[in-house]
């Protein structure tokens, strides 16, 4: 199951969604808004997505994880819009009969999501400036 939502993510319900009687464990990754970036103080992050492609790619990641590991259920939920410090921007939950598969699949899913899925975040700093994440670094090597 993959989804994008403008609302706060209910972590408990994501975990419930991957619970399966044949599973021996559930691995959960929760990505949260950190209060600093590049030495500057952050108020909130604001996410946008190329939504149909993001959904299609998250589905492809789920299929790829299922091909590589024996897992029971997978949930990938990404929040869009403003996410204040401490709140979850992404939750990935994987259930499997044995924990190794769940850990490995979950790690693959978050690592690949961050590299491939067309979602972008803008950092809102406490001094009032707003910048697309990573843009300053990109401009430097031009």
């Amino acid at each position: 199951m993959v989804s994008l939502t403008l609302n706060p993510i209910d972590i408990r319900s994501v975990v419930d969604g991957v619970t399966a009687p044949e599973s021996g464990g559930i691995d959960v990754f929760v990505g949260t808004t950190r209060n600093h970036a590049g030495g500057r103080s952050v108020n909130l992050l604001e996410y946008e997505a190329y939504e149909p492609m993001a959904i299609a790619m998250m589905e492809r990641l789920e299929a790829e994880a299922r091909r590589r590991w024996t897992v029971n259920r997978i949930a990938i939920v990404h929040r869009l819009g403003k996410v204040p410090v401490g709140e979850a921007s992404v939750v990935i939950a994987v259930s499997s009969a044995h924990r190794n598969e769940a850990f490995e699949a979950c790690r693959f899913l978050i690592d690949t999501l961050k590299k491939e899925v067309p979602i972008w975040k803008r950092e809102h700093f406490t001094n009032g400036t707003v910048e697309w994440s990573g843009v300053a670094a990109e401009a430097k090597h031009e």
């Binding site: 997505a49 149909p52 999501l113 961050k114 067309p118 979602i119 972008w120």
Partner: protein, 81 residues
């Protein structure tokens, strides 16, 4: 051919639009859409080496041939998670 172009994030902010239909010659490739965009918006020039192209919701190489009605997205470095 008519191609629907979609821009996101920093690229959209620089170009000043999020969606546009452009006309390209038959058998044009994905890179030709980016070249056209950079010609119209020279401030995008520093970005042309770091964006990826997607056609109909899939990443493609710059030589990917386009067809009438394709949706081409210019994807700046992603930062989800």
């Amino acid at each position: 051919m008519n191609i629907r172009v979609r821009l996101f994030s920093v690229i959209r902010d620089i170009a000043g639009f999020d969606e546009q239909t452009v006309v390209v010659p038959p058998r044009a490739d994905a890179a030709s859409v980016l070249r056209k965009l950079v010609q119209a918006h020279p401030a995008l020039d520093p970005w042309k080496g770091s964006v990826r192209m997607a056609v109909n919701l899939e990443y493609v190489s710059s030589s990917h041939p386009l067809k009438q009605g394709d949706e081409v997205a210019i994807i700046p470095p992603v930062s989800g998670g």
